[in-house]
Symmetry: D2
Subunit: 359 residues, 4 copies
């Protein structure tokens, strides 16, 4: 490490001359300054700073996971960076508490000046969504149309190009597909697992049929539900059925990737799978935290403007409410719990498989 | 204050002999102890302790707000206790983070032993819901049926009796109805306010029609939305229309109470209205925090059991997801923001009204 | 409200071109970029954005509290802004969780490039400290010397000028001194209060002497402590003694201000005192939250660099640890609890005093 | 998994009859119930429930770490349970926010009835302290004496017996001592590391001497500090010097354990060391969170009772403040950062060592 040649001064290092000269309320231009507009600007600027950091982490993770062989020490670095994203997301949520100290009346003092600006114009946030893997086709209709319409041409083109590049979703899917050890010599893991599942489902069916605390209507409903679970399990092991469900949007990941992810979830306690399991869990956590953030944000908007129109001319909260759950990136990973079976029913891995997994 | 006659010993004061002897995992009875069942028991016990405290506060607030005259120092005490409930609700949410350290596989180790027990059997939580004002008729269908069906007779009768008694919702409604100063000599507040609203809506309409950044379809959609807002405003000042919307479930509070609440929201900065405004806001906050709790709880259940059946034989998460938003107690107060207008458009109160408000 | 003449575009409104072009790691200049330096820059920039917002609020509060008459609706606005500062402080603390995802090894990768920059060069933070009322003379020795030495001349002069202007501490002190109703006709509040205090202290002395669970040494220690409390109480009502203790640094506020603050604390439930009490409590809370922040920050630094020298060449954490408790602004308000007596022992205010207080 | 033979009912499963019948305010016995005493009881009961859960986890971790060979999947389970303890500690801290809604005046309403009960009589908390490794000899004087004096004989004996048994500190120390690979064939790790350290310290010395932004006094101070760091480094590799410092209380862990812990910290990115590193970090985090809890608790007590005597007749807050930092269990692990050197200066491990580490 080379010595620095020029003493470093904190305000210059942080470029505070730029940073602290970037708050210019519109209300000042049109007459009296609305006291709370500064807060509105600063909270959104803080969001954008953190979005930049999230992008910095995603951009560092992507090439690592895209390598044809990802070794364990890399998984460990990826996990640390994903966990940093979690902490940032926590702060994104906490910042809503600050914004909520602004009352509706205070917001109405400058709302009109911002028309038609809108949070939907945050290029960095859209960049995060695209890089994590939210394809246009997954968006709800309203979102599909308006996602690009409110942007200027440069911003729109930038994002449309980005959609063509591999996302974190793609990288994770490929990394999972490359995972070995699902068939090992005579050991056909999925055959044994299928038997265990059948036993579990039969058990659940018996529990339901014996349940005298349930009304007949409830029983029928539950048994129906169980049948659906059964069908989904069947599809999991049948490429044709799986791909059909994938076309219908029930799955987004390939069958191979889903099976690998399930295996990692089932045998997470194997040292070799610790890192991969934390990685999958971290991805679900990112979804979880963005969902919480969208939810809190929706409620805040609703509290702030009621059913009034948003600054971008959109029926603000309704749209937001719908995206809350829809825009998950790693839904398939989240849904895996449906396929878990009790540890006691889990096939024991043969010693040579365990040895092979730990090299 | 009398001196205590017998020295107090911490473990006895807290009755730890009872408290710490109340954790008996079912798994132990049926074979090997599942390590995580203790956590499952303790987290729910901690919930129940806090529910008891919330009930203690609600029971102390109810008689105060039910008096024919509630003076300001009482409002202040009520506010402190409502804010205590908020802090407790924060901890209820935080406790989910603890429960989430249990993995689905760990839960499957003892889930079957708990059938058909279920969180829906928490009498204290139902008691809170009823005391805050959630009538059976407001519940979603699934909830309506199952709310009582899983309880033993004693518990069911206790709660059904409770439904007959006045709730916090009822007390708040009556307290708002009793509020004075909406008509004061020649000053007819609502007439002036109606004019201000008309001006604002006309302004919003013009903004929308001029909005060349909106497509025609979007414009039509937004203008339609604006018309609905207009209609709701009209109903606000027309008893007949209001009561019709009330019958349809659009409002739950009486017109008089809604108008008082709106007035308090509009003139919250008047010293006399500070306390009442904080009170209304605190009630909305209680809703908000329970909604967050239900939401986090739903997601946790989904992550824990996937689409599998819940311990109570219910399709756990689906039910929970629907109650998340539906079971708000003070929806009317939350929706008031729709009726706010910019401070600059707000009618100035005549000096004699202000003087009268501050006695 | 005038219509805006030019459509507002979110990225321009937030001046993202400046904001997002202000992150330039030193490590890049000296060779390979250290991945985590971006985080280091962004977390400090986010701090500075929030400091700007805190200053915005303080600057709006100061003139209000400096008026010769502060009416209740102003108190209410001040309280809302102080509570906004609390929420911002919560986020300042939460941001430490993000920074802690950087490991010591990662920090060592670029630490040397930052020499001698240091958080002590945050002009805005020093501005906050000065505006809240931290005089140079209250700082610990180390801090006194180094507070200005690391700044360039312009920054130093700016802050030294600021020290000459009235702070929030000064404004609050004067506002408290102006408070009426401590003597009212025949009612000499403090005489009655003194009697109540004597009774309480006599009671405490008896409790201690009767305490057979205490050893003789412990008893002597406690009784000594009680005597000190007695002496401080005496000083409270004796201008000469009070001013002596003030010279010694035991008090910072004038006797008149302290007595007003005590009165507000004792009779907080009086409607008229609700606002003032929340204001005093909010000031203590600001102290509390900065103390927590300093404490968490110290621990983080210690974990990051051990007992190594800080980037500013200072023995980082030792200094920080000492300022944690020392740099409270409203110590006197915090210490008031010593002078509280049980509600049952509190003199009842005569009706005419209560009436006068509520006008 | 066997089917349960008897349907499970939620209120019975949680033994709510015991749990919810354990709140009996003393104030009720002596006259009028103090409204807030219920809160005081419930918050402490919630603490005790969580302490029980923490003990449940510690008791499950201890035997695992005490095995002569701890395999990686066990480390992984231990880590999950330590992280559960973190989440519980977060809730312990959050609960203080609830207690702080009680005002000093409200507490004074029932404080006297509780004399001489005190939180120092929480057997479970002392049990946690002892099990984690806080020996009597490490306590500050005040704590040493009073730790046992306020307990009844049964409780005292129980804890004194516990002090004789191996603690988590002991188990971790032994586990670290057993760690292999510090010498491997020709590769003498610590010799190479010592050279790297000398280079780093020489670099730091030069930086300081060149620092024209430091006054002479500051330079002397810093250089002195650097010399101390040098001496501690020397001791690290010299058994005799190390043991001397250990006698003086500068270290608590054996030299072998400290060196293993340092190695794990330096090469944490090696897959084989991931688990062990997270384990060490989790232990430090437990300390950190208890320190935060003690600190917040102290401040809360101070705010509640000022410098008045605590319910246990102790000068409450002074004692608490001193224990805040002193009662860390894993101080040695926390202090390791002093011995870290920049990653670029770190000796590269020979391939055969890396291969051996990963088996």
């Amino acid at each position: 490490m080379q010595k620095n040649t020029k003493p470093c001064y904190y305000p210059e290092y942080l470029q505070l001359n730029k940073l602290l000269d970037a708050q210019h309320p519109e209300s000042t231009k049109y007459g009296a300054e609305a006291h709370d507009e500064t807060l509105f600007i600063i909270v959104h600027q803080a969001y954008e700073l953190w979005f930049k950091q999230v992008l910095h982490e995603i951009h560092s993770i992507l090439p690592v996971l895209s390598q044809s062989h990802v070794d364990e020490s890399n998984i460990s670095t990826v996990n640390l960076r994903l966990e940093r994203i979690h902490r940032i997301q926590d702060v994104l949520v906490d910042q809503i508490d600050i914004l909520e100290t602004m009352t509706p009346l205070d917001f109405l003092d400058f709302r009109d000046y911002l028309i038609p600006a809108s949070g939907f114009q945050s290029i960095q946030f859209k960049e995060i969504e695209i890089l994590l893997g939210l394809k246009s086709e997954y968006r709800i209709n309203f979102d599909k149309k308006s996602f690009y319409s409110r942007l200027n041409e440069k911003d729109r083109n930038y994002l449309m190009d980005l959609e063509e590049k591999p996302s974190l979703f793609d990288a994770v899917e490929k990394w999972l597909e490359r995972m070995p050890f699902l068939e090992f010599g005579d050991f056909k893991f999925w055959n044994i697992f299928k038997d265990a599942v059948e036993t579990m489902l039969a058990h659940d069916e018996k529990v339901l049929k014996d349940a005298d605390y349930l009304s007949d209507a409830e029983k029928t409903f539950q048994l129906n539900d169980l049948e659906n679970t059964h069908a989904t399990f069947d599809a999991l092991f049948d490429k044709e059925k799986y791909d059909e469900l994938k076309t219908q949007g029930r799955f987004r990941m390939s069958q191979e990737a889903t099976l690998s992810a399930l295996f990692i979830n089932l045998y997470r306690e194997q040292p070799m799978l610790n890192g991969p399991f934390r990685l999958l869990q971290s991805l679900v956590e990112i979804d979880e935290k963005f969902t919480t953030w969208r939810y809190r944000h929706t409620t805040m908007v609703l509290r702030m403007i009621g059913s009034k129109i948003g600054t971008g001319g959109s029926a603000g909260h309704d749209y937001l409410r719908q995206t809350t759950q829809n825009n998950r990136f790693f839904r398939d990973l989240f849904n895996l719990t449906t396929f878990l079976i009790p540890r006691s029913a889990l096939p024991k891995l043969p010693d040579e498989v365990i040895k092979a997994m730990n090299f």
